[in-house]
């Protein structure tokens, strides 16, 4: 018995340890780096010539940078959902997913803050936010809440990592010197003592409780960047809840995609199995339905009244210039995934992966639709401005930066998976034992 336990442990550890990039890994990483570098070059051009390199103009003063920002903030919420909610609810099947969720959260929040700086006309004056910050402004709330969420997410990533660090340190010989140094720096004090375990568990529980309201705050405040203005389509009391439900959906979709990819690449079929997909599928369906419900609220109620300022906006969405994109986002982001995932057969890994991708893509365009069409429908007519101000289609620099930032976020996740076990080893072992007993 003793022996088999040790063997099983050894096997799990071996399976889950971070692995060197294979050929595919190299190509993937290289491609991401190239895309990110193109984005960096585009940003260099923007710094040099000003925001004129974008297609944003006086009416559409926020473009895909901001929708990308909202997307990042949305997807980062998933960390709190998977980790905190499940942990508090004592759901055990989600253990292998927690670290995936957390690293998505951390990298997304990092890039959310970067993209906000990219959007600024005067990035070098970022310090003004701290020197002259005005508590009345929702932007300042956002800055505060995002940095708080970032710290909490990091903690939530770090604390459960401690026992795994011990395992990593123990396999000293097999790793590069630099990595070992880092592991030691981060976790050499973790000895797995009972007292340490106790403190750690308590800390994680506290974290899980704290992160939920903070996560709600970060996305609610982000929605307030829009809802505190008078613009048609933004002027809604429903916006916080609408954004949060959307965020949970895209986050869950993102986790499904990541689950599938890691499982495939790292051969983790044993640890992330069909049961996980099935359960995640059910959750995604529930979230998609919830988001659909908020969408109905968000569009049907104003459409019923058709107030004058809203009219142009809504007709453009439903049947005008933005209609193809709008219905694409609704169908691909919600309806089709719901249709797939409602069935047991749809909750198998492959269809789940497809649904997850659809959700993420649909969500990205949904954010775009939230930001841009509204700005093209101001209260007073667009007049005395150049013709080009009447439309918006992102310039290549904007695309490059937006896509580059997405690549950057993926890069962070990739490197993280290279350095740390993407599935918690220690917890999986414990779990294994509990189920065995």
């Amino acid at each position: 018995m003793e022996n088999t336990t040790a063997l099983i442990n050894e096997q799990i550890t071996k399976d889950l340890l971070p692995q060197k990039f294979g050929k595919r890994g190299m190509i993937w990483t290289g491609a991401l780096i190239v895309i990110a570098l193109i984005g960096a070059f585009a940003y260099y051009r923007q710094l040099r010539y000003g925001l004129v390199v974008t297609s944003m103009r006086d009416y559409v003063s926020w473009g895909i940078y901001i929708s990308n920002f909202v997307f990042f903030v949305a997807i980062s919420l998933v960390g709190s959902l998977i980790t905190a909610v499940f942990r508090l609810a004592n759901v055990h099947w989600s253990t292998p997913l927690t670290r995936i969720a957390e690293i998505i959260a951390v990298s997304a929040i990092v890039f959310a803050s970067l993209i906000i700086i990219v959007d600024m006309g005067r990035p070098e004056r970022f310090v003004n936010l701290f020197m002259y910050g005005r508590i009345q402004s929702p932007i300042v709330w956002d800055v505060i809440v995002i940095s708080t969420y970032f710290v909490i997410s990091l903690l939530l990533l770090y604390l459960p990592l401690l026992p795994d660090l011990k395992i990593l340190i123990a396999r000293e010989s097999k790793d590069a010197k630099g990595l070992q140094k880092m592991y030691r720096f981060l976790g050499s004090f973790w000895k797995g003592l009972a007292i340490q375990e106790k403190i750690n568990n308590k800390a994680v529980t506290i974290l899980c409780i704290t992160i939920i309201p903070v996560a709600f705050c970060i996305h609610t405040v982000t929605s307030w960047l829009f809802a505190t203005t008078y613009r048609p389509g933004w002027d809604s009391t429903n916006f916080g809840a609408y954004f949060i439900s959307g965020a949970f959906l895209v986050g869950a979709g993102g986790v499904v995609v990541a689950m599938y990819v890691f499982r495939k690449v790292y051969k983790l079929e044993k640890y992330i199995n069909e049961m996980h997909f099935d359960k995640m599928g059910k959750i995604v369906v529930m979230l998609a339905l919830l988001y659909l419900y908020f969408n109905v609220n968000e569009y049907l109620v104003p459409a019923f009244k058709m107030k004058k300022p809203e009219e142009a906006h809504l007709t453009q969405l439903f049947a005008g210039e933005f209609a193809p994109l709008f219905w694409f986002a609704i169908c691909v982001g919600m309806l089709i995934p719901i249709a797939i995932l409602l069935f047991k057969k749809g909750r198998k890994p492959v269809p789940m992966f497809v649904a997850g991708i659809m959700i993420v893509i649909g969500a990205w365009f949904k954010r775009y639709l939230i930001v841009t069409p509204t700005l093209l429908h101001p209260f007073l007519p667009m007049y005395n401005v150049p013709e080009s101000y009447h439309h918006y289609f992102p310039s290549w620099e904007e695309w490059a930066i937006a896509i580059g930032s997405l690549a950057g976020a993926l890069l962070v996740i990739t490197f993280f998976a290279r350095i740390f076990p993407i599935i918690p080893i220690h917890e999986t072992i414990i779990e294994q034992h509990e189920t065995a007993e």
Binding site: R57, S61, D119, G121, S137, P378, L380
Partner: protein, 313 residues
């Protein structure tokens, strides 16, 4: 530093006496007569002074007075002029889209092509109502949504009612542009094209010049002109007297040739403000386009296509 500047300013003031009197001098129609204090009595005591042009001038001491045309410190510019409540009345019945307001403003503030602080909009409220021309400026709202959202106090409300922008502070987040329901704010998407001497000046919130790349700008009610006792550029440029500018605390507004009692004007002509329902409390009042001086169509020939064609690079 500020103190030093102040004393330097006083010194300059004395030195620039000749110019100073010239500034104070009223043209016959100076609408801000109140600023040039004509109650000075000759003291009989004369002083010799060097004019800006190197000439020696003899002058009665009583005429020495500060020149208002000097740079205002940032903190002064943020407070505004005490005891004033600036207000504007735009008479829609007189507008035929001449566009003189726009070009005077653009010229005075060195706005780049494609930028307009004043827009003259062709409006038609409903299908069967009559169209009219509506010049819009910044409304200098008393509860300005743009100021509410600014994260760094770069745009601010002054005690004299004016809403200004500090382009040395602005981080270019453009939240204020999204928040302003009147779409009045413009952004410097690229390095603004400026005359050399203007570009070399230090930025002043009151002149809104020189503009800076990556910051926001908008109509400023020309507080620099008000300090000098003159009307905003749009007001004096309009040949039809559409704009009237004044001080609510004095209950009067003027378009340069006519002066009205503000309260009476608003009452007799049923003045109103734009988008009252939003609660922004604008400081710009409109008089309805009733009993018009010109038919709407007469403005169509002035429709400006220049701006439309312009492309930022």
């Amino acid at each position: 530093m500020e103190n030093k500047n102040a004393s330097r300013r006083e010194f300059l003031t004395a030195g620039m006496l000749a110019a100073g009197v010239a500034t104070g001098c009223s043209s016959k129609k100076n609408p801000f007569d109140g600023y040039s204090d004509s109650s000075i009595k000759a003291s009989g005591e004369t002083v010799k002074l060097l004019s800006v042009d190197g000439e020696i001038i003899e002058m009665d001491k009583a005429f020495l007075k500060p020149v208002p045309d000097l740079p205002i410190s940032n903190s002064e510019a943020r407070k505004g002029i005490d005891g004033k409540k600036f207000v504007m009345v735009i008479d829609l019945s007189r507008c035929k889209n001449v566009g003189a307001c726009k070009s005077a403003c653009n010229h005075a503030h060195q706005l780049n092509p494609g930028q307009n602080w004043i827009k003259v909009l062709p409006m038609q409220d409903a299908e069967h109502t009559a169209p009219y021309w509506e010049p819009t400026t910044c409304m200098h709202c008393d509860e300005p949504p743009c100021v509410k959202v600014c994260p760094v106090d770069a745009t601010f409300k002054r005690q004299d009612g004016i809403v200004l922008i500090d382009s040395d502070r602005c981080i270019g987040c453009r939240f204020c542009m999204a928040a302003c329901p009147y779409s009045t704010r413009v952004f410097n998407w690229q390095e603004p094209i400026l005359e050399k001497e203007i570009a070399a000046q230090p930025y002043s919130c009151e002149t809104s010049m020189p503009q800076k790349m990556g910051t926001v700008s908008k109509c400023d009610f020309c507080p620099d002109m008000a300090r000098k006792g003159e009307l905003p550029h749009c007001v004096s440029a309009c040949p039809n007297g559409v704009f009237a500018f004044g001080d609510m605390n004095e209950d009067s507004v003027t378009n340069g040739t006519e002066t009205f009692r503000f309260s009476e004007l608003i009452k007799s002509k049923a003045g109103y403000r734009l988008m009252e329902d939003l609660g922004t409390k604008p400081r710009v009042y409109y008089l309805p386009p009733a009993n018009r001086n010109f038919p709407y169509e007469s403005g169509l020939e002035n429709v400006d296509t220049e701006d439309k064609k312009y492309q930022l690079k």
